[in-house]
């Protein structure tokens, strides 16, 4: 199993990406809403069918976009927190946190049923600061 290549310091050397990881970047075409690109990374070609991958990322995107949507319950929750001087956040869980927790559980389930059998492992995007979805290729 190859590990990630070290980054050379000289500007003339080539930087090699890690051989055992594929990254799914953020998709900003709809604005700053939380959405990841549904394009299958080159490293996963042949490892997972494209429609399965698109559906997985699509489901994750739906949960994430819901996290950032301003619904009536979100506004009420924020108003209530404001009235308590934001002390309510000490004991209350926000809608966003609940959504991200759902995403974590969904990623675990997908690892168990979709990625695990294909020797892949998806890292929860929250672990990567919602920058990328990292998919580890467990076997070359």
């Amino acid at each position: 199993m190859s590990s990630s290549k070290p980054l050379p310091n000289s500007s003339s050397a080539t930087i090699l990406p890690p051989a055992n990881k594929a990254f799914v970047p953020r998709d900003y075409s709809h604005g700053t809403e939380l959405r990841f690109s549904t394009e299958l990374p080159a490293k996963l070609q042949g490892r997972i069918p494209e429609e399965v991958f698109t559906a997985v990322i699509g489901n994750i995107n739906q949960l994430l976009i819901a996290a950032e949507t301003g619904s009536a319950s979100v506004y009420l929750e924020s108003c209530f927190a404001c009235l308590t001087g934001y002390l309510a956040y000490i004991c209350m869980e926000t809608q966003y946190e609940k959504c991200l927790r759902s995403v974590s559980r969904l990623v675990e389930e997908y690892n168990r049923t979709v990625f695990g059998p294909r020797n892949l492992s998806m890292i929860d995007p929250s672990e990567r600061g919602l920058r990328v979805i990292e998919i580890v290729l467990l076997r070359p």
Partner: protein
């Protein structure tokens, strides 16, 4: 194993073992705090004596309530994560930088630095995304790098020395409410300070005598008077920015300035000022992405296969990978409660019409009534899971679920 706050690479100051974060230099913040606290104490201790008796006891009560609200907003602004985007891992950096055009020397022998811009279409408008070499990430639109704190901050507004922190997406509402509540409070203190002096001068029949008798009133009135100009001014400016759904940073750069660029649209504008206000002030709150209270588990390196006492390599690899993913399952709970009894009703409104063509996606998440339901092509639940792997995964999950800790609350 070190916690993430212990290996935080930026220049912000991490306090209370990862529960709070602020700028390194807080000297101006202490001045702000001193001005507010000292003036309030003087007002409550001296002016309110006469006011409570002559006018109403609700005067000092309202003053105290406002004082507490102002302090809450100020402390929340100062000590919460403004929306810092955690730095990219070395693997991510390698992946992105391998795709960037490296530094080149062109035909004339001129050096061209590495290209680090990419164009992105957002709702009909072209944005240039920049790659931040310090933070090793593509900066989201509206994010900016704060050189004082050495972080990329989402929806960066400005770095405020008075408040001792960057103002960004997560703490903008606290900053704005601090400004508004402080404006109201300054006005309140100034008005009732003057009322106190007037009442005293009526009793003593001499205004100068009244001032000599209550010098603290004069002091609080002067502090409030000079503060009002700047606080109300800034509050008004930010009210205008909120209604236009722009940040100070974007306003300074003229990103959405329609006078300079008439065909420019703000793709983040919700349509009207009230909708923008509601979204900015009462919209969803992002939790801190820094996750300071969690263990630093060597995020940069690849996960290596570990064989473990006769178990096959696949199981151990699955276990190793879920050690990374299982821990966050309880991250978003501030209380020590088991993940399984969390209500998922809040996410129930997400439409569950995603159709999956392959049969290997689960029909429903275990234990969830209302989460996104992924329908299989033939309606059958998932199968084809690795035998033995599930037990390892299940064991890992139950171990991490029972061990939840108090998490970063700001």
């Amino acid at each position: 194993m070190p916690k993430r706050w212990e290996v935080y690479p930026g220049k912000s100051q991490v306090l209370c073992s990862g529960r709070c974060i602020s700028a390194k230099n807080l000297s101006v913040f202490y001045l702000t705090l001193a001005l507010i606290v000292i003036s309030s104490c003087l007002f409550l201790a001296f002016d309110c004596r006469l006011l409570a008796v002559t006018l109403s006891p609700s005067v000092p009560v309202l003053a105290a309530v406002q004082f507490i609200f102002v302090l809450c907003c100020l402390l929340r602004t100062t000590f919460s994560d403004p929306g810092i985007i955690p730095r990219g891992t070395p693997d991510e950096a390698a992946w992105i930088e391998s795709q960037l055009e490296g530094p080149q020397v062109d035909r004339d022998g001129n050096y061209r630095p590495p290209v680090r811009l990419k164009d992105v279409q957002i709702n009909g408008r072209v944005f240039k995304l920049k790659y931040c070499f310090t933070c090793k990430l593509w900066r989201p639109p509206r994010a900016s790098h704060c050189s004082t704190c050495d972080n990329c901050v989402d929806r960066f507004d400005h770095h405020c020395p008075w408040v001792g922190n960057c103002v960004g997406r997560r703490n903008y509402r606290y900053f704005y409410l601090f400004l508004i509540s402080l404006s109201v409070y300054c006005l309140y203190v100034m008005v009732f300070g003057i009322v106190n002096l007037v009442l005293l001068s009526n009793m003593r029949k001499d205004f100068l005598m009244a001032m000599k008798e209550s010098p603290t009133s004069v002091l609080t009135i002067l502090v409030a008077f000079f503060s009002i100009w700047s606080v109300v001014g800034l509050g008004g400016f930010h009210t205008m920015l909120i209604c236009r759904e722009t940040s100070t940073n974007e306003d300074i750069k003229g990103s959405f300035n329609q006078r300079r660029h008439p065909d420019l649209i703000n793709p983040f504008d919700q349509g009207n000022g009230l909708a923008n206000c509601c979204y900015v002030l009462f919209g969803p709150v992002t939790p801190s992405l820094l996750n300071f209270r969690e263990d630093e588990i060597g995020l940069g390196s690849s996960i290596s296969l570990v064989t473990n006492n006769g178990r096959n390599g696949t199981v151990s690899a699955a276990a190793a990978s879920t050690a990374v993913t299982a821990t966050p399952a309880v991250r978003y709970s501030n209380l020590t409660r088991n993940n399984n009894d969390a209500t998922s009703n809040s996410v129930g409104h997400v439409n569950n019409s995603v159709q999956v063509i392959s049969e290997s996606l689960p029909a429903q998440l275990p234990g969830d009534g209302n989460d996104v339901i992924v329908k299989n092509g033939n309606g059958a639940p998932a199968d084809g899971v690795i035998s033995g792997g599930t037990d390892a995964v299940g064991a890992q999950n139950s171990n991490t679920q029972s061990a939840s800790s108090v998490h970063c609350i700001v």
